[in-house]
């Protein structure tokens, strides 16, 4: 009691009152969405927020097309408040029930309105909601969408254009191979490097020196290596006829096994199976520069009359070719490695550029069916050339606004 007779409030009571008021204020200001999010479940935070922002609208969910299932693609329209910069992200929630159990699935930054919800189970119905998250980490939820089921597809429709290209290509090859089988004469232009092969083998025979055949460092899964092996078969037939030694150091054990078989068969085919020496087709090493050291050693010691480089090459190409040049060998190279072509052109006597490597086997064997394949390949190249010119014209017209910019969009490869 105070002296003036007014009713006094004990200081202890005031302290408690302050504590209670502060606690209530703190409780009310705590965003329910945040509290719920910490528990791993979403809630209608927008009803409790002091400031309300527009949620995303127009949410749709579809099974992700052209995939192996387990994914649903969501898309929505951005929150009307995104342009003001208050939206920090869009959070995606997923549930197997339309009303409850929504769990956080992922988020995307503002400006992105598509999300691929992956890692789902196929043939299960899912519901989704997307929330616009504000800087205060308050969530403003869209309407729930669903149910949507993820399932795998049996055909990737994004690759229809590739399929059409493959069908045209296969048809052209089959047509010309069939024509060649029927006896139609097919012209093939001269390839100087391959024309020189007979002379190169003859030179080696006269000099009594071996021929060195190198198929590069790639494995058997590289088509360039397979093309090189095809050429090796033809070269081995010639060396078997001339009784010239053929040395084939390999950088891959599987390639070695195939090359041994190819050379053995080639020697058998020309009636000289006894001329084949298994020790001449051997494994050296997988290591790039150890291989170079090994092959260079063979070049310097054996001084081959002719060296053939066919297949895929990397930085070792110039070291090999310059060493071969220094020992006075005739060198013929063929590779589809665009970056190594200048080195071979500089250091070798003849170079097969790019696709000539793939044509070499047909050129050497002169088998009509193989030549038919080449003709089919050329036809498709012509079609590709025409398409390139058309594309060039359309792109130019689109760039100058003569035609719409997305005129060719339906033909773009998307898969």
């Amino acid at each position: 009691m105070y002296a003036d007779g007014e009713r006094s409030i004990p200081s202890e009571s005031i302290r408690w009152a302050v504590v209670v008021v502060v606690a209530l204020a703190a409780l009310l200001s705590c965003p329910a969405a945040v509290c719920a999010q910490e528990e791993g479940e979403s809630t209608e935070g927008d009803t409790l927020a002091a400031v309300t922002y527009a949620p995303p609208t127009g949410l749709t969910s579809v099974d992700t097309p052209n995939d192996r299932g387990s994914a649903i693609t969501l898309s929505w329209e951005a929150s009307a408040d995104e342009t003001t910069g208050v939206i920090t992200s869009y959070e995606i929630y997923r549930s197997t029930h339309p009303d409850t159990g929504f769990a956080y699935a992922g988020k995307v930054p503002p400006g992105i309105t598509v999300y691929r919800d992956s890692g789902l189970e196929n043939d299960i119905e899912y519901y989704h909601r997307v929330a616009a998250a504000s800087a205060e980490t308050t969530l403003f939820f869209s309407a729930t969408v669903g149910p949507t089921t993820a399932f795998p597809q049996w055909f990737n429709s994004n690759r229809v254009n590739v399929l059409i290209g493959v069908i045209i290509f296969v048809s052209a090859i089959v047509y010309f191979v069939t024509s060649a089988r029927a006896g139609k004469e097919l012209f093939i232009r001269r390839l100087a490097g391959l024309d020189e092969l007979d002379n190169a083998v003859g030179r080696a025979t006269e000099m009594g020196k071996p021929i060195l055949y190198i198929t590069g460092l790639s494995g058997i899964s590289d088509v360039a290596t397979i093309a090189a092996i095809n050429i090796l078969g033809e070269v081995a037939k010639k060396t078997a006829e001339y009784n010239t030694r053929l040395i084939v150091p390999c950088a891959d054990p599987i390639v070695m096994a195939v090359e041994q078989e190819v050379v053995r068969e080639a020697y058998a085919e020309v009636g000289r199976p006894e001329g084949y020496n298994e020790d001449d087709v051997f494994y050296l090493t997988r290591s790039q520069f150890a291989y170079v050291a090994g092959v260079n050693g063979i070049m310097v010691r054996q001084r081959p009359a002719t060296i053939l480089y066919m297949g895929m090459f990397y930085a070792e190409s110039l070291v090999l070719a310059e060493t071969g040049s220094s020992v006075g060998s005739i060198q013929i190279a063929g590779t589809d490695a665009v970056t190594q072509l200048p080195f071979f052109i500089t250091s070798c006597d003849y170079t097969l550029i790019g696709e000539e490597l793939y044509a070499a086997s047909a050129y050497l064997s002169r088998e009509p069916v193989l030549l038919g394949g080449l003709k089919g390949q050329d036809t498709v190249k012509f079609i590709v050339g025409v398409l390139l010119i058309v594309g060039f014209i359309v792109a130019t017209l689109a760039a100058t606004n003569v035609i719409p910019a997305d005129f060719m969009a339906p033909l773009y490869v998307t898969g």
């Binding site: 899964s221 520069f289 696709e355």
Partner: protein, 209 residues
């Protein structure tokens, strides 16, 4: 049958690999992954094949007293020592182990030395390529001089247009020819693969029918 079975296997594997590109269904994709895993298993065995070939070749050279058998001794000794340290030393990859010490102090410097030879060979190859004996070689010489100058600060000091000319040479005529080659290569690859899958190209089997 000796030829028919490999051809049939090649056809089935080739067609399956092509078809799976268009089918995303897990039934096909999972099989393709297993297919590739088989390839890895096969590769592991292939290395054994390579090692046997290496030992066999050098053993024959030593046994036949070939002139260069000294190299064979070194190759076999190196192989056996590294296999020995690799198999019998615990934690052979850890720093300081005999295997690691030999690899880092012998193999790596030797390979680096071989690689560094490239710089000298580039100089000798450039000298040969840049002799202006023909129209093409002269063009190459001029283009290469501009590109080399445009890649270093000296080029811009000589003339401000040199880096621009360098970029044009690399991005227009050079890129056009590279793309032309690459289109041809792509089609050549497809045609070769197709001919092998269909059994038209059989040289990989040693030729013949």
């Amino acid at each position: 049958m000796r030829r028919q079975i490999p051809l049939m296997l090649c056809f089935i594997a080739g067609v399956f690999t092509a078809v799976q590109y268009f089918i995303p269904h897990p039934a096909i994709q999972d099989f393709q992954e297993r297919f590739l895993a088989w390839l890895m298993t096969l590769l592991a065995f292939a290395f054994l094949l390579g090692t046997v070939s290496l030992i066999r070749l050098h053993w024959h050279k030593i046994r036949n007293k070939a002139d260069d058998r000294g190299y064979s001794f070194v190759a076999l000794a190196g192989l056996l020592v590294m296999i020995g340290f690799g198999f019998f030393h615990p934690a052979h990859h850890s720093p300081g182990s005999p295997f690691n010490t030999l690899f880092q102090n012998v193999q790596v410097p030797i390979e680096a030395t071989m690689f560094s030879l490239l710089a000298f060979y580039i100089a000798s190859a450039a000298f040969r390529a840049f002799r202006a004996r023909t129209m093409e070689a002269t063009l190459l010489l001029v283009a290469a001089t501009i590109v080399m100058l445009g890649r270093v600060p000296l080029g811009e000091l000589i003339h401000e247009q040199i880096p621009i000319a360098t970029r044009w040479i690399l991005e227009v005529p050079n890129m056009a020819s590279k793309r032309g080659i690459m289109i041809g290569v792509g089609l050549g690859m497809m045609a070769t693969a197709l001919k092998i899958v269909l059994g038209i190209e059989r040289a990989w089997m040693g030729g013949g029918d």
